[in-house]
């Protein structure tokens, strides 16, 4: 079974389990990957029918699924080169303020997500601007896989899409802006109109398609900006705090959508995003870069699997420090820190997490929240 069929299968399974919204989004991804005008039309017709019916029904879903399955043999997946971007010892110093980003090195591959976390004013935006070549580094170098194909720096920069934290205002109708973006990218005529429609459907923006900038909330503005950025078919997307205007549910959905879209079969891209939503970003990131006063610390998924560090737990509840200390006495606790209503407990690396659960249960500690942060970049904040 090829990757395309596998994705259709996943959508079917999700539909069968009742997660129709996720299945719909996955189907749209497959349709976008197909790049087939007829499938675009069928998908949009199905979406119109779904809107008329109120929800998907089996027939409707199966019709579009079957059309995709029929198309599967024709599907040509993109074969990405090994590395999309190589960052070698890149650093920057602001002479006026004295702020410095110490040399950083990492790689971004197609379909990979890099999370940038850190407190405010620690260089996340500067790093993003360095990566999209908007700022000149003082040390190190940047290499892009697309460089060889591009005739000019401008052409290269047009493939690195940077979305700033404050979304710049659009003028005119939102759909016109999407059509304009696509036609500037050489996608014209009917294809243009259908692709724009599909993208707004993909990001859950259909109800707002005829709205103007002033008529939508900042969260939906961010989503429209994301739709516009995605329609640009970037090689690398650099998003500065894209979650700041979104509610908690939207944050999770959008991050999942971005991860899924970055792994597109036809047009995969690399994604670097900065955020304060540490745990949300960690869920989808292959590598998290923690920046503190310009110094970077890295936390990757592979590293998490192999490293042997002290067990760290974040815990919250209506109890005192002494009560917590008594409870954890048997678990070789090394340190307790109180930070903003939350305790961070550090245990010896050999301590199993189950011992901690057991101790909590035995002492009937009224826990409201608990998280194992041993392999999370959260620990860098402490």
């Amino acid at each position: 079974m090829n990757a395309f069929l596998l994705r259709i299968q996943q959508a079917k399974e999700n539909f069968q389990h009742g997660d129709k919204s996720l299945a719909e989004r996955q189907l749209i991804d497959c349709v976008l990957d197909s790049n087939e005008l007829q499938l675009f039309k069928s998908m949009l017709q199905s979406l119109d029918q779904k809107d008329a019916l109120g929800d998907w029904n089996d027939d409707l879903f199966n019709t579009i699924t079957q059309a995709l399955i029929d198309f599967a043999p024709k599907m040509q997946a993109f074969e990405p080169s090994a590395t999309l971007m190589q960052v070698k010892g890149i650093g920057k110093r602001y002479f006026k303020s004295g702020f410095t980003i110490a040399p950083l090195s990492f790689e971004v591959h197609y379909g990979q997500v890099i999370g940038l976390v850190g407190e405010n004013g620690n260089g996340k935006t500067t790093l993003l601007r360095l990566l999209c070549k908007d700022l000149k580094p003082d040390t190190g170098s940047l290499h892009y896989a697309a460089e060889a194909r591009c005739k000019s720096n401008y052409e290269l920069r047009s493939q690195l899409v940077y979305m700033p934290q404050r979304v710049p205002r659009w003028f005119g109708s939102l759909m016109d802006n999407l059509y304009f973006t696509l036609s500037c990218h050489g996608i014209t005529g009917e294809f243009n109109a259908l692709m724009a429609e599909l993208m707004i459907a993909r990001l859950g923006l259909r109800p707002f398609r005829n709205h103007k900038w002033t008529e939508i909330s900042s969260g939906y503005r961010t989503r429209f900006e994301l739709a516009k950025s995605l329609l640009r078919q970037p090689q690398l997307m650099l998003l500065d705090e894209p979650l700041s205007n979104l509610d908690i549910i939207s944050q999770q959905t959008i991050l999942q959508d971005l991860k899924s879209l970055s792994m597109s079969l036809r047009r995969p891209f690399g994604l670097v995003l900065s955020s304060q939503q540490l745990y949300e970003v960690e869920k989808i990131s292959d590598l998290v870069i923690f920046l503190k006063q310009g110094q970077a610390q890295y936390q990757s998924k592979q590293q998490a699997a192999t490293e042997n560090t002290d067990l760290m737990i974040e815990i919250e509840g209506p109890f005192e420090r002494e009560q917590l200390q008594n409870c954890m006495a048997a678990c070789q606790i090394k340190d307790i820190q109180f930070n903003g209503g939350v305790y961070v407990l550090t245990f010896d690396a050999s301590t199993p997490i189950y011992d901690v659960y057991k101790a909590i249960a035995e002492h009937q500690l009224p826990v409201l929240y608990l998280r194992n942060i041993t392999h999370s970049s959260r620990r860098f904040f402490i």
Binding site: K133, L135, K136, R157, S158, G172, F180, C184, G189
Partner: protein, 511 residues
């Protein structure tokens, strides 16, 4: 249909959609038609020819209305056009796309600028229709002949203002061509120069000795051609003098009758008794065939026309709008020239359109700070030109030229080497504006450096090295170089140097 066209443009031709080309062209076309109609129907009839201000295209009212319409149109267009900037958003556009955009902006300005011209053209066409049966040269001849017998201004009949006979004129011209320029030898070869006109001028007047001419008045001394149409002044003077000397009063009377008929034809008011005029001529000629006292017993009054009012007061005796008739005939002649949309007219609009297009494109391609600095740079450039004019220092021209070339060079180096982004944009913006002066200044410099060399030899200025052909060629074509050639040169410079540099600059990182 409009919506379909709008969406079709948006989906297929983003540049045309963004620049709002159909809407702008439609607006410009409607404006031109409206202004043409305003002009066409602003002509009251034949009377328009004698009213200088009515004929003139520089009508304050229409300029004000036209200016406001243009300004309003420009603001609305810019509000639409500046909404999207694909270049600054790093959409995948090429240098050629930027060139196309610039040419479209230039075209819009070029077509939009001459709406005042359309007003004048409407007027011109209506006047041409009115005057299609007028033989303007014959009318000019009638006026120029008849005016010999109408002592409107006694100074015109003074001996000082008399003209030479044809033979005398030829003799004078011959002497002038052989005349040498005197000079005083100094440490510099060409020293200070004077022209020895007094020594070269003999007394050629064939009607009276030169010394007594200023105190004499006579019909024979009249030497004017009040209407500067046609080229037979000498023949007309000769005819008039012959009639006066031979006392051919019937011919003189007929000439005056024709003159006042012409006034009727051009709706020019008059209240002159021809017999009184003839009797004055007879009296003056009878009393003394040569002399006429300065205190004339006969005088005409020229009608002063109030342009704002059309209620005419009755004319006094011997009062007429003599100047009005001259103006009318000259205006008919001017209006009949078919150079209304000539290249030189277009070059003025070309300059304006080019200047505005460059400014707008710079605003689109660079940032606000360098754009404002380019305006300041252009101001400094204009001040240098002003200083050059005040102090008449040709050395300042070199400074202006060096300033222009240096800014171009610095823009090129800084952008290619990815140096300071703001500064390199500033140099580029400055150069883009002051490039307009490069070609005219260079041509002027070459012309100045290659002019003929003279030296003072035996008290007279002599050419020791004649000017090379390039000097004469530049002298001959300086007007064309300043206008049409320079517009094309700047257009090419902006298209093939400034735009590629701006394209490269946009991709350069900041510090």
């Amino acid at each position: 249909m409009i919506k379909t066209l709008y969406k079709s443009l948006l989906l297929k031709h983003p540049l045309l959609w963004n620049i709002k080309l159909p809407q702008v062209i439609l607006f410009i076309a409607i404006s031109h038609v409206l202004f043409f109609l305003f002009g066409f129907f602003s002509v009251y009839g034949i009377i328009a020819f004698k009213l200088q201000d009515q004929f003139d295209a520089n009508n304050l009212g229409i300029n004000l209305i036209g200016g406001l319409i243009l300004l309003l149109g420009l603001i609305v267009w810019l509000m639409w056009y500046l909404r999207n900037n694909a270049f600054k958003q790093f959409y995948p556009i090429t240098v050629n796309d930027l060139r196309k955009e610039f040419l479209l902006v230039f075209l819009i300005f070029l077509l939009g600028m001459p709406i005042f011209h359309s007003f004048a053209y409407g007027k011109h066409l209506h006047l041409k229709i009115i005057s299609r049966n007028i033989n303007v040269e014959a009318d000019a001849k009638i006026v120029n002949l008849a005016r010999h017998f109408l002592p409107i201004n006694s100074d015109d009949f003074n001996g000082d203002n008399c003209c030479d006979s044809l033979a005398a004129q030829n003799k004078r011209n011959e002497a002038a061509s052989q005349m040498k320029t005197r000079c005083y030898e100094t440490t510099y070869n060409n020293g200070s120069e004077t022209t020895d006109y007094a020594a070269a001028e003999p007394a050629y007047d064939d009607t009276a000795p030169a010394a007594s001419r200023s105190t004499l008045y006579s019909y024979l001394y009249y030497c004017q051609t009040p209407v500067s149409v046609g080229n037979d002044a000498a023949l007309i003077h000769h005819t008039a003098k012959r009639w006066l000397i031979n006392e051919n009063y019937d011919s003189i009377k007929l000439s005056l009758i024709n003159y006042f008929k012409l006034m009727d034809k051009y709706a020019v008011r008059h209240n002159v008794n021809i017999d009184t005029v003839i009797s004055h001529i007879q009296k003056m000629r009878a009393a003394d065939k040569q002399l006429w006292g300065s205190s004339s017993e006969f005088s005409f009054l020229t009608e002063v026309y109030d342009y704002g009012a059309f209620s005419f007061t009755p004319l006094n005796a011997n009062q007429a709008d003599f100047g009005g008739l001259n103006t009318a005939i000259e205006n008919v002649a001017e209006n009949n020239k078919d150079n209304f949309w000539s290249l030189s007219e277009w070059s003025l609009y070309g300059y304006l359109a080019l200047g505005f297009s460059i400014l707008l494109m710079l605003f689109r391609m660079t940032r606000l700070k360098p754009w404002i600095s380019s305006l300041i740079g252009a101001g400094i450039w204009a001040m240098l030109f002003g200083l050059m004019g005040i102090f008449a220092q040709s050395e300042l021209l070199y400074i202006v030229l060096i300033y222009a070339i240096l800014s171009g060079l610095l823009a090129w180096i800084n952008i290619r080497k990815q140096n300071h982004k703001l500064r390199s944009a500033m140099w580029l913006s400055w150069f883009s504006i002051i490039q307009l002066s490069i070609l005219p200044l260079t041509a002027w410099m070459i012309k100045d450096a290659t002019k003929e060399k003279t030296a003072c030899v035996n008290g007279y200025l002599e050419v020791i090295q004649p000017a090379p052909p390039i000097h004469n060629w530049l002298e001959l074509h300086s007007q064309t170089i300043m206008t049409e050639v320079n517009i094309v040169f700047c257009l090419l410079l902006f298209l093939f140097l400034c735009i590629p540099l701006a394209y490269r600059w946009q991709a350069n990182p900041s510090e």
